[in-house]
């Protein structure tokens, strides 16, 4: 089991684990609800931090997913093509999107911890 406490979070609600795995936060999946399709990047593609790298679609709308870190895509979660709802059911574990081989690991360290991310959500809702 991956713990959100080991992940770092972007302002745009993506998380990145120490191994470069990327997914959507629990807060984001609750807001999006009903994920019905996920378009993943090609393995081997080189992305920059902040680059639109995947698309998550709900019944109502499509959402761009930005890679939190720079590097090469080494793996994508092919289970999502059969079962996109994993993004809702297991946002930190089986619902991961892709893995980035980080070319600048410091980028990850500059992102928010889980606690800081949760605090920023609370302050946004007030």
């Amino acid at each position: 089991m991956r713990s959100p406490n080991d992940c770092r979070f972007t302002k745009t609600h993506e998380w990145v684990a120490p191994d470069g795995a990327v997914g959507l936060s629990d807060h984001a999946q609750k807001e999006i609800t009903d994920v019905v399709y996920v378009e993943l990047p090609k393995v081997g593609r080189v992305v920059k931090a902040g680059e639109a790298s995947a698309v998550v679609e709900s019944v109502k709308a499509a959402f761009d997913i930005y890679s939190p870190v720079s590097g090469k895509i080494t793996k994508v979660n092919t289970d999502l093509s059969k079962n996109p709802a994993l993004v809702n059911q297991s946002p930190y574990d089986n619902g991961w999107l892709f893995v980035v081989e980080m070319s600048a690991p410091k980028e990850r360290e500059s992102l928010s911890t889980h606690d800081a991310y949760k605090k920023s959500l609370e302050s946004n809702s007030h």
């Binding site: 609800t33 399709y37 378009e39 019944v59």
Partner: protein, 364 residues
């Protein structure tokens, strides 16, 4: 922004509020899929207070409406309703509506939220008689109870209303309050729509929600309303209907009564019928992943042939579906299309409408 009388109910039920043509309404309370499925299998409750409620009465009410709508209003006998279009003189659709006859000379019209003002101005400009009054019911509330369990839920609260026939309307009491109730809907399921003053309808909403919860009734938002009506291929004004397309092009030729006499737009329709239509509303299903959205560009054989009118994910089919006006040569079933949304491209195939029909076994 306008708030409906149900606003406090929506907030208490955790509704996620959005702006719909100037009305603050819930897009969903739980998830669109859950609410959609509740209506297909059990029942759902929808605030539709944003819809326009217009009363038309007077000695010349029937003659005037005959002149204004495509359908034969004489078929709406007292206590019955009929679906109709208002057309401009080019045959383009000004609005789609339901016309109910409450009394011999008194009609009740349900029009689209976004079209209330243009409809009223047009109706008043067209009327040729002083023996008619056209009045929008101010501050009126309305909600819909839809789904295969709708009748059973209505039975618990108003057994008389539960016995209403298809497209019938009447005044019914719910304890010490009353409402107009019609056997109509916009989901493709059996159901009722209720209209009346806010104070009465709030009480009836609470009564039906309490009676229906044990039977699986859920409050439903605009999100499910749109996926349900798209599956049933019910048109939405501004998408499948507009002033540039005729009912013949929208595949709704049945709303036109050719033998009732004159109505506005008739000449244009007669001409179009004899010339033949050039475009037609077609349905399509997306192959593979991706969801089409309104505005998507449709390409066939390398040529742009249309724009997506409605596009969404169908929870019942588990696939993305959509509708678009397409040239006749592309509108036959089984035609291959490409749909471009920004930098993405999806493959789709035209299919027969509607996407969803009620199981015959469910018809009462």
């Amino acid at each position: 922004m306008n708030r409906t009388p149900f606003y406090d109910r929506h907030i208490a039920l955790n509704g996620k509020m959005v702006d719909f043509f100037g009305w603050e309404l819930p897009v969903q309370y739980s998830t669109i899929t859950l609410e959609h499925t509740a209506v297909r299998q059990k029942a759902g409750l929808f605030d539709i207070s944003h819809m326009g409620q217009v009363y038309v009465w007077g000695k010349d009410a029937e003659a005037t409406l005959q002149h204004l709508v495509t359908s034969d209003v004489r078929k709406a006998t007292i206590g019955k309703g009929i679906y109709a279009h208002f057309l401009n003189d080019r045959g383009g659709v000004i609005d789609d509506l339901f016309v109910f006859r409450l009394e011999a000379d008194k009609f009740f019209l349900i029009v689209n939220a976004s079209r209330v003002q243009p409809d009223l101005e047009w109706m008043k400009a067209q009327k040729k008689s002083f023996n008619i009054t056209i009045l929008e019911a101010p501050q009126a509330a309305a909600f819909a109870l839809q789904g295969p369990e709708a009748e059973r839920i209505m039975e618990k609260v108003s057994p008389q209303a539960a016995r209403l026939g298809h497209h019938a309307i009447g005044d019914f009491s719910f304890g010490d309050v009353t409402a107009l109730v019609s056997r109509t809907g916009y989901t493709g399921e059996d159901g009722f729509e209720l209209y009346g003053p806010a104070g009465h309808l709030l009480s009836i909403w609470d009564q039906l929600l309490a009676a229906g919860r044990p039977l699986g009734l859920l409050p439903c938002g605009l999100g499910a309303r749109d996926t349900l009506r798209t599956e049933a291929s019910y048109p939405l004004y501004g998408h499948e209907l507009d002033d540039k397309h005729t009912p013949l092009e929208s595949g709704l030729g049945w709303v036109v009564s050719w033998d009732k006499g004159h109505f506005i737009g008739r000449e244009a329709l007669v001409k179009q019928k004899s010339d033949g239509i050039k475009v037609k509303l077609a349905g399509f299903q997306v192959d593979g992943g991706g969801v089409v959205r309104p505005g998507g560009k449709i390409v066939a054989n390398g040529k742009e042939v249309g724009t997506v009118a409605s596009g969404t994910f169908s929870p019942t089919l588990g696939k993305a579906i959509g509708m678009a006006f397409l040239p006749m040569e592309c509108a036959n079933n089984g035609f291959q299309l490409k749909i471009q949304l920004g930098s993405r491209e999806m493959s789709a195939m035209t299919v027969k409408l509607p996407f969803y029909k009620r199981p015959v076994a469910s018809i009462k």
